[in-house]
């Protein structure tokens, strides 16, 4: 339905639609196979079964919400739309709070802080990697998670781009020594709580996220007028 309640007048008679076939039975079959795989994995290792569940849930949610990190970076440039950008900011804000709670809990109990391998050195390689990745994801129509999700949706093009993602990864791994010696090994690892304290780091990060959210909102108003 259109906004004013009356439907849009279309010219010409349209061919009657043939009735659509329901794919729900196939969906049920896939679900049963997924459960069987899950049980089979859990008999080998509980960890593997857990990752299987997480992967499936990530895929399901990504597809249902069409959540697309590529669009969050691309749409502001193309149409000026920032609705996905704002959603990414919401995700970052929630996850920041949750992650910090887990990390701080470990810190208070004197345990090793989990997930610290994701605090990586900042160097010239980060900049080059970001630009290459950003350019590539727009051209290929999806980033790593988006490509996997679209493979599941039946996109031939993304199956091909997944293959070339592997080719690029192999090339990157082959050259990794060069980048590591010349750039990455000189780059600092900056974990915000080391500089601002735990509370300060969360507050500063949430403020930055809020500022970007507002800037994104204003950007859309300026570019699209709504």
């Amino acid at each position: 339905m259109s906004e004013n309640g009356k439907s849009i007048q279309r010219s010409g008679a349209r061919a009657p639609r043939k009735p659509k076939k329901s794919q729900i039975p196939y969906g049920m079959a896939v679900l049963i196979v997924m459960i069987i795989i899950g049980i089979a994995l859990s008999s080998r290792s509980a960890t593997l079964a857990m990752y299987w569940i997480f992967g499936s849930c990530f895929g399901f949610v990504l597809q249902k919400s069409r959540f697309c990190f590529t669009a969050s970076m691309r749409d502001p440039w193309i149409t000026g739309s920032t609705s996905v950008t704002k959603a990414v900011m919401v995700a970052l804000a929630i996850t920041t709070v949750g992650f910090t709670a887990i990390k701080y809990g470990a810190f208070l109990n004197g345990l090793p802080i989990p997930g610290m391998s994701y605090v990586v050195p900042i160097s010239f390689a980060t900049a080059v990697g970001g630009i290459l990745f950003g350019t590539g994801m727009v051209i290929a129509g999806g980033c790593a998670s988006g490509t996997l999700m679209r493979v599941g949706e039946g996109f031939g093009m993304q199956m091909l781009s997944l293959f070339f993602f592997l080719v690029g990864s192999l090339l990157g791994a082959y050259h990794f020594g060069f980048w590591k010696i010349n750039f990455i090994s000189n780059g600092p690892k900056i974990f915000l709580p080391d500089y601002f304290g735990w509370f300060g780091a969360v507050v500063i990060q949430l403020l930055i996220i809020a500022c970007i959210y507002i800037a994104a909102d204003l950007w859309q108003k300026k570019k699209m007028g709504a």
């Binding site: 919400s65 970076m73 691309r74 992650f99 950003g134 070339f164 592997l166 915000l192």
Partner: protein
Amino acid sequence: MKKIIEKLEKNQYYLAVFKNPFTYITGAVLLSILQIALLASAGNPWGVSGTFTNWAAWIYEALGGSVDKWFYFSSLGAQNTLNAGFLNDPGSIQNVGIIVGALLATLLASQFKFKKIKSFRQVIAAALGGTLMGYGARLAFGCNIGALFSGISSLSFSGWVFGLFLLIGAFIGSKLLARFFM
């Protein structure tokens, strides 16, 4: 059976959960919950593209190549993952899960359709875009998930730096797309 499905397809709860898309904000909240649950239970946040490097190495080795002398795979952890194989690698299982989870969502919405590659232009776009992403992800220790989403959420400044350059890359990509791939 047919009757049940026809009834189901008009059920408002079916429509809300399986047929109609979620809003972006709903997606953001659900992904955040999953991320937090994953860090709490696995001890590491979500990553996608590091696993692709292992897939590439397995294919390369199956074709007769060897990555044993490569610096990237020289750590004990990397060697162990490669030796354990695809079926024992949590990251690989998780990535396959993403594909199958998306397939499930599409089928339960009755929206699956195989989309063939339409033109040579798409082949070039997929090849160029895919290779750039793969190479870039290795330099930046991850993709939009590992380096950006998980990086920023882990209070690592690297995530913000990566994000800034991603935005610049996306601008370049948009210009290239409009110029050559439309």
